[in-house]
């Protein structure tokens, strides 16, 4: 809480005028995710440049931007894979994520789906979901874990949601690309996180699969906050959520899909690359 009160003004932003980022003038209170003045550089390359972003509780947000805009780095910072050089990253307006490792952040209720579907290929579909199940994930608790009836039913339920009920016993490695994407979304659902981060959830999917996924996400979004990084504009439009455009590591524009698509800076960035 102490950090929360000092966070918004603490970040020092000294930037050339032409790249002044759109800064949300908001307090972290009431937000599920609050990024302020976050910078990350790799060997001098600024992957994130004083990025500020606020996601409200229950909000769905889509994030777009050209290659190298810092979308994946942003996900890495939120999930603890990369530590920011400067800036604040707060979860639920109070928890400082920069001090925690990946496992601790996942246990807080932040789930992540990777750009390249990453399921455990040598485990069955059921076992993949079982690993994602929200429960005590300590080493000894895991060693003596016993699947209860309600937990088994929960897995069955998710299997139904992602349409893999009849493939539960198959190795995840045998699934098609789209099915792996769904399995990974199913794993996110098993985690019962409050905040889900999805990196290109429809990459490599057919149009039909993309539509189904959009419906699935909208359904999920009723109970939790979701951040979707996506290239597919049709998909972004179908989600109908607020859009944030990233460019060179900071926010370039924010608003509805029509607003940002009409923004001349956004057009310039996309056409001029």
């Amino acid at each position: 809480m102490q950090r929360a009160s000092m966070a918004p003004d603490a970040a020092e932003i000294v930037l050339p005028a032409e790249s002044t980022p759109v800064r949300p003038i908001r307090q972290p209170a009431g937000s599920i995710l609050y990024l302020d003045g976050v910078s990350v550089s790799f060997d001098g390359f600024k992957a994130l440049n004083s990025l500020s972003l606020v996601i409200d509780k229950g909000e769905m947000r889509t994030i777009i931007g050209p290659n190298g805009a810092g979308k994946t780095t942003m996900m890495d910072v939120i999930t603890g894979k990369t530590k920011p050089n400067t800036g604040d990253v707060l979860f639920n307006a109070s928890v400082d994520l920069t001090k925690m490792d990946e496992a601790a952040i996942a246990n807080l209720g932040i789930g992540r789906k990777f750009q390249k579907p990453t399921v455990f290929e040598h485990l069955s579909v059921f076992e993949n979901l079982e690993l994602a199940l929200k429960t005590d994930r300590g080493t000894f608790a895991t060693l003596f874990f016993h699947l209860t009836g309600p937990q088994a039913r929960r897995i069955d339920e998710i299997l139904g949601v992602i349409g893999l009920g009849d493939r539960r016993k198959e190795k995840a490695g045998a699934l098609s690309h789209g099915q792996k994407q769904w399995l990974e979304i199913g794993m996110l659902l098993m985690q019962e996180g409050q905040l889900l981060l999805l990196d290109e959830p429809v990459a490599g999917m057919t149009d039909h699969e993309t539509e189904t996924t959009a419906r699935l996400l909208l359904d999920i979004a009723r109970e939790r906050s979701i951040v979707v990084v996506e290239h597919d504009m049709e998909f972004v439009r179908a989600l109908g959520a607020k859009v944030t455009v990233l460019h060179e590591g900071s926010v370039l524009a924010e608003g509805s899909i029509d607003t940002v698509q009409a923004d001349h800076r956004v057009i310039e960035v996309y056409l001029g690359r």
Binding site: T79, K81, D101, E102, A103, A104, A106, N107, G111, R112, F114, T118, F120, E121, H122, L123, E127, E130, L131, A132, R137, G138, T139, F140, T142, L143, F144, F145, H146, M187, Q191
Partner: protein, 389 residues
């Protein structure tokens, strides 16, 4: 009740049948054939053969322990010979303290080599090893503690793959150099030998040998069941997940460091127990047990048998060591060539070892029968043109 139902799930019904049959054959049939049949009978198992099998059982336990960390968690430890030898030294220290006044110098407290070095009293780290229970505790704790500390340092820093192998290999090499030194107080390059008694029984006696053999078989069976419990638990699936995609497991909220640390420590303890059973059966433990090549050889046993199955490791230990005993007797100069060739053949043609061979042959037969979509496009093309013609 819960434990019993959990135990039943360790193996399929057929698996339990095979397990029990093998266990009975090993602990009942072999000793009976040794004790009851006259030496001229073709079915008589000579005592030297029984001891040799006892040694193999210890190697099998050692291979099993390596499979737990390599086959399941994907971390190839090339230091398991070190944990084995540490367990062996703990047992050796107990056996040395049992010699008492029967040593060459007749000193009731000091082993001969310490008298020879003009030491006047037992070093502090030898205290307590006169007690069997204390020595047995150390057999597990010393390798376990070393694995815990080394594992904590490496896994926490996310050192994986070949770097982990190199670090563990460096560890055994350092241990070997240390144990070669006389000042260490472990008998220098002669090691510990000339044992007389274990728990009051003469280590050379036939009855003691049978006892040690049966103990090795029982401990191997128990070690197998413990390992089986771990790999069939949810933690076992977490380990396999770590093997496949380590960083992904972290984003699910599991501590990869703790999971690996747990299995590495358990594995080192099993290796230590194997060493402790081995030493009284061969009658000596010296620093050559720490030699890096020994640790690599263990990996060969597991690779030949087939990793990630547990029973494959046991099979591999028996196969390779059986071949080694045969070759070193029949054609000693060819053994190393054979070992090298075996490793190459396994790597190239049997990636899943002997246990994978059956599945591989079945797959090939199935593929010949129906050229499925999994076959190479060329083959599919050939098949299609045949249809056309």
């Amino acid at each position: 009740m819960l434990l019993m139902s959990r135990l039943a799930t360790l193996e399929s019904r057929r698996g339990w049948q095979v397990f029990l049959i093998l266990l009975v054959l090993t602990i009942v049939l072999v000793p009976v054939l040794n004790l009851t049949l006259p030496p001229e009978s073709p079915f008589h198992v000579p005592t030297y053969m029984l001891s040799l099998l006892g040694k193999y059982l210890c190697f099998a336990l050692l291979a099993l322990s390596l499979d737990l960390i390599w086959g399941y968690a994907g971390a190839l430890s090339l230091g398991h010979g070190g944990f084995f030898a540490l367990g062996g030294y703990c047992m050796g220290m107990y056996l040395m303290r049992q010699i008492g006044t029967r040593g060459v110098y007749g000193n009731p407290d000091l082993p001969d080599f310490m008298v020879f070095l003009n030491w006047s009293e037992l070093p502090w780290y030898w205290l307590g090893f006169g007690n069997f229970w204390f020595a047995m505790l150390m057999v597990m704790l010393v390798p376990g503690a070393l694995a815990y500390v080394l594992g904590w340092l490496t896994f926490r820093s996310r050192i994986t793959g070949v770097y982990f192998s190199i670090i563990t290999q460096a560890m055994v090499f350092a241990l070997m150099l240390a144990f070669f030194r006389n000042e260490m107080g472990f008998g220098g390059n002669n090691g510990l030998t000339d044992f007389k008694e274990i728990l009051g029984y003469n280590v050379q006696a036939q009855g003691t040998r049978i006892g040690l053999y049966v103990a090795s078989a029982l401990v191997l069976a128990l070690g197998y069941l413990i390992s089986r419990y771990i790999v069939t638990s949810k933690l076992g699936r977490v380990l396999m997940a770590i093997r496949d995609a380590e960083s992904r497991v972290r984003f699910l909220g599991y501590s990869v460091t703790n999971a690996k640390l747990f299995v590495f420590t358990v594995s080192a303890m099993l290796a230590g127990i194997a060493g402790a059973l081995y030493v009284p059966q061969v009658g000596i433990i010296n620093p050559s047990e720490f030699s890096p090549a020994n640790s690599i050889e263990i990996a060969v046993w597991v690779a030949v048998g087939g990793r990630g199955t547990l029973y494959g490791a046991i099979l591999g230990a028996f196969t390779v060591n059986g071949a080694k005993s045969f070759f070193t007797g029949a054609a000693p100069e060819f053994w190393l060539f054979f070992l090298g060739a075996l490793f190459i053949v396994c790597t190239l043609f049997l990636p899943r070892g002997i246990v994978g061979l059956a599945a591989q042959l079945r797959n090939r037969a199935a593929r010949r029968a129906i050229p499925s979509t999994e076959t190479k496009s060329k083959e599919v093309g050939d098949a299609a043109s045949e249809h056309g013609a």
